[in-house]
């Protein structure tokens, strides 16, 4: 039952990063490449139409974590207190940037909200990557000092950074050179994904240029990926064990590399939706590979005193999980149903669409 919920939450997280991921990415592209008003307008619209229904996947993931693994939820949310609150603020800035840009015609008003949307998209992509980096690196659970836990074994509190910036220090902070690498991978991946979304959904004048941008970003992503796999071994020496013991898990990295290799042929891909699919594979493969390398651990402990948080020691009653399974399945069908209805009705290029106003 725990495994089912682990998979369910993983699916919801992947959906969140594929769906909201494209509007984060659109924000990053918007920040760096959109110069003409027309482009800015259609790009914000391509994100603005969908962000709130995409964000539901985040809310659903949060709710499901809360329900299925309450100890993990409590530990991680209070442990990563500061970055999470900052994420909340960024989510607010991004949303109001998207929603309110078009409300007045003044140049300055639009500039402010464009920057608000772009910068907060960029920072959110970075922060989410850093968060993933923290999870795979592990934390000093219970804050062990001289062999004793300062708190209950599953609580911790991370400073934003530690003066050494090293993931190998005794009590690493949220930002260190390893988590920054993962953060950059996240930014580049989502930028590629967002660019694909813009090409798919709009007739922006920059669309042709974006393909070469994607190509360059993909080279960067490949280098970062190779580098991260090497340093991952240093940071968490057990990270390949799962893949060696259960070779079928290699399907997840394989998905990632399919996306990575496929994106190199971006200029020859005829259908825009295929390119979008490839960057979705990047996200799917990236998240699932990280989770698969940890499984069944949710948050590794880097000290020898306290055990890692796993899906088994952070969960609730079997009964609770099984009732939730029943409504969860119904909920999933509805979620996918609504999403398909919505995307079908609002399909096609944004700028050609008649909004009915």
């Amino acid at each position: 039952m725990e495994i089912f919920w682990f998979i369910a939450i993983a699916i919801v997280l992947v959906m969140f990063f594929i769906l909201d991921g494209y509007d984060f990415g659109a924000g990053i592209i918007h920040l760096f490449f959109a110069k003409k008003e027309k482009d800015k307008e259609v790009i914000t619209k391509s994100a603005g139409l969908f962000w709130d229904s995409n964000e539901v996947w985040l809310v659903a993931a949060g709710g499901m974590l809360f329900m299925a693994f309450p100890t993990f939820y409590a530990s991680v949310f209070s442990g990563f207190y500061l970055p999470l609150i900052i994420v909340l603020w960024l989510i607010i800035f991004r949303a109001i940037g998207l929603e309110f840009r078009g409300q007045f015609k003044y140049r300055m008003w639009k500039d402010i909200w464009d920057k608000s949307f772009g910068v907060s998209s960029l920072l959110l992509a970075l922060f989410f990557g850093i968060a993933l980096g923290n999870i795979v690196r592990g934390v000093n659970l219970g804050i062990v000092k001289t062999g004793v836990s300062a708190h209950e074994p599953h609580y911790f509190f991370l400073p934003l950074w530690d003066s050494s910036f090293s993931p190998l220090s005794q009590n690493p902070g949220i930002i260190d050179w390893f988590t920054i690498i993962i953060g950059l991978i996240s930014v580049v991946t989502l930028a590629i994904h967002g660019a694909n979304w813009i090409i798919l959904k709009t007739n922006a004048s920059i669309n042709n240029k974006l393909k070469s941008v994607i190509f360059k970003l993909n080279i960067l992503l490949t280098l970062l990926t190779i580098f991260s796999i090497v340093v991952w071994q240093i940071v968490n020496p057990n990270s390949l064990d799962n893949f060696i013991n259960k070779p079928y898990l290699l399907v997840f990295p394989l998905i990632y590399f399919t996306g990575l290799l496929g994106t190199f042929f971006i200029r020859r891909i005829q259908k825009d939706s295929h390119a979008f699919l490839l960057s979705s594979l990047l996200i799917l493969g990236g998240i699932t590979s990280s989770l698969a390398s940890l499984f069944p651990v949710l948050l590794p402990s880097i000290n020898n005193v306290n055990p890692s948080l796993t899906i088994y020691n952070t969960t609730t009653s079997e009964y609770g999980l099984s009732v939730a399974l029943v409504w969860g399945i119904i909920g999933f069908i509805l979620l996918f149903g609504y999403m398909i209805i919505q995307k079908r009705l609002l399909k096609g290029k944004i700028d050609k669409m008649d909004y009915g106003h």
Binding site: M67, Y73, L88, A95, F100, T316, A324
Partner: protein
């Protein structure tokens, strides 16, 4: 430790108060929008459709605000109340996760379609998407109140050795006797808020002599919905809730009503008075004998237990705040009924549109349903103190063990600054929308 609890409580109170401004309007407004859309389908009069679309713009601004201030609520359970989340997540995680999956998703998927899809899908489908938005927003209220009802009156749980609450009866969460009355009361109150807002927009147009056709329509709808809902808020839903508090949280009931001493031969109802916590009595009291006993138990001389019968630690930790919240809510509710009755009388006699003083009154009453709703929310939350889960888990045992008060204060100040900006933007945008009116062709 004291600081930590104080800042955590203050932060939660602040963020949820600000958040609640928005859903209370959207829930009621979605009902009015569906009604207008239905009128349009039946009569084919363009006016109703324009009115619905205009209110939808206000709805959309509110909805955005509700979403961006609502996501922090879910996060804060974990960030600031980690111990509470750990212990009760297995139960209230159910209702919160269901809220996300069943209602928030419904609302936000179909809102985009309702706003942008009218020409894509024809009037019938458009009505249906509007109806689904309404359904989503009310279901949202249902799940949130189910969560709150469990904290007020825990059911269907068992407590493990490690202190964790786990669910053992899923059905009990939704058949909780606290839930239905609280939900109905809350929904009616949100209809009151939106009726006052709609009526006030109408009054504004009529007084300014612009968009008068729509002004009259909004006044009419606002007054009719407002009268019905403000009556329903008081009776039966308000009355039912008060009885529930008397039954399940007698200490909170005594504090709410300002009953310091148990009266054996029937309790009076306090209209006005200030709780004096030093001398344990009400100062400047105006009260009507025996009414409270009658309202609570339908017997004139039934005893009502006063605060003297409870131990200090069983009493809510801030009796005056609770007492005032409750009395402000009840007092305002009474005023709403009075104003709406009067307005309805003149509407019926076809004099309302020319009656300037009453139109001004309606316009200036707009903030008060919000105040009534918020003080109502405070009443039930302050009444639950000093517990998070009534009778079982103390508030002081629910906070995050590793988050220091300095961090909480910092994030609190951040939220205050950010929400002030949001509030300002909100007023500007709603003001602009109202100023443009339903006739405008922009956007």
């Amino acid at each position: 430790m004291e600081d930590m609890i104080f800042y955590d409580r203050l932060q939660f109170a602040f963020t949820i108060t600000f958040h609640y401004i928005f859903p209370q309007l959207t829930m009621g407004l979605s009902l009015i929008i569906v009604f207008l859309k239905w009128k349009y389908l039946r009569s084919n009069v363009e006016k109703y459709n324009n009115a619905a679309k205009f209110l939808m713009k206000i709805f959309a601004i509110n909805f955005t605000m509700g979403v961006v201030t609502g996501i922090p609520m879910e996060f804060q359970f974990g960030t600031n109340w980690a111990k509470f989340s750990e212990l009760t997540g297995g139960i209230i995680g159910q209702t919160l996760a269901m809220e996300g999956m069943f209602s928030f998703f419904l609302e936000s998927s179909f809102l985009a379609l309702f706003i942008f899809g009218e020409k894509l899908m024809g009037q019938k489908l458009h009505f249906i998407t509007g109806f689904l938005v309404f359904l989503g927003s009310w279901a949202s209220g249902w799940f949130i109140l189910a969560t709150n009802a469990w904290m007020q009156h825990p059911v269907g749980y068992e407590i493990l050795e490690n202190g964790k609450f786990v669910l053992n009866n899923f059905g009990a969460l939704f058949s909780n006797p606290w839930l239905l009355p609280a939900f109905l009361h809350n929904q009616m109150a949100s209809v009151v808020t939106s009726s006052f807002v709609v009526a006030a927009i109408g009054a504004f147009y009529v007084l300014r002599n612009k968009q008068v056709e729509y002004g009259k329509l909004f006044l009419k709808i606002g007054v009719i919905f407002g009268l019905v809902s403000s009556l329903l808020v008081a009776f039966p839903t308000g009355d039912w809730n008060a009885k529930n508090v008397a039954k399940y949280q007698p200490a909170a009931f005594a504090a709410m009503e300002g009953i310091f001493e148990t009266e054996h031969a029937g309790a009076e109802i306090v209209l006005i008075g200030q709780p004096n916590m030093v001398e344990k009595k009400l100062d400047n009291k105006i009260a009507v004998p025996n009414i409270l006993s009658f309202l609570t138990y339908q017997e004139w001389d039934k005893q009502i237990i006063g605060m003297d019968k409870f131990k200090e630690e069983e009493l809510p930790d801030n009796v005056p705040a609770l007492y005032y919240s409750y009395h402000i809510m009840v007092g305002l509710g009474t005023i709403f009924i009075g104003v709406m009755l009067l307005a309805f009388f003149f509407l019926w006699r076809r004099k309302l549109y020319n009656l300037k003083p009453l139109l001004w009154t309606i316009m200036f009453l707009v903030p008060f349903p919000y105040i009534a709703n918020i003080t109502g929310w405070y009443t039930v939350e302050l009444g639950r103190q000093p517990y998070l889960v009534y009778g079982l888990l103390k508030t002081s045992d629910g906070i995050s063990p590793t988050v220091s008060s300095g961090n909480t204060l910092f994030t609190l100040l951040g939220f205050v600054a950010l929400y002030m900006l949001l509030g300002l933007l909100f007023l500007v945008l709603v003001g602009k929308t109202i100023n443009e009116g339903p006739n405008s062709k922009t956007h």
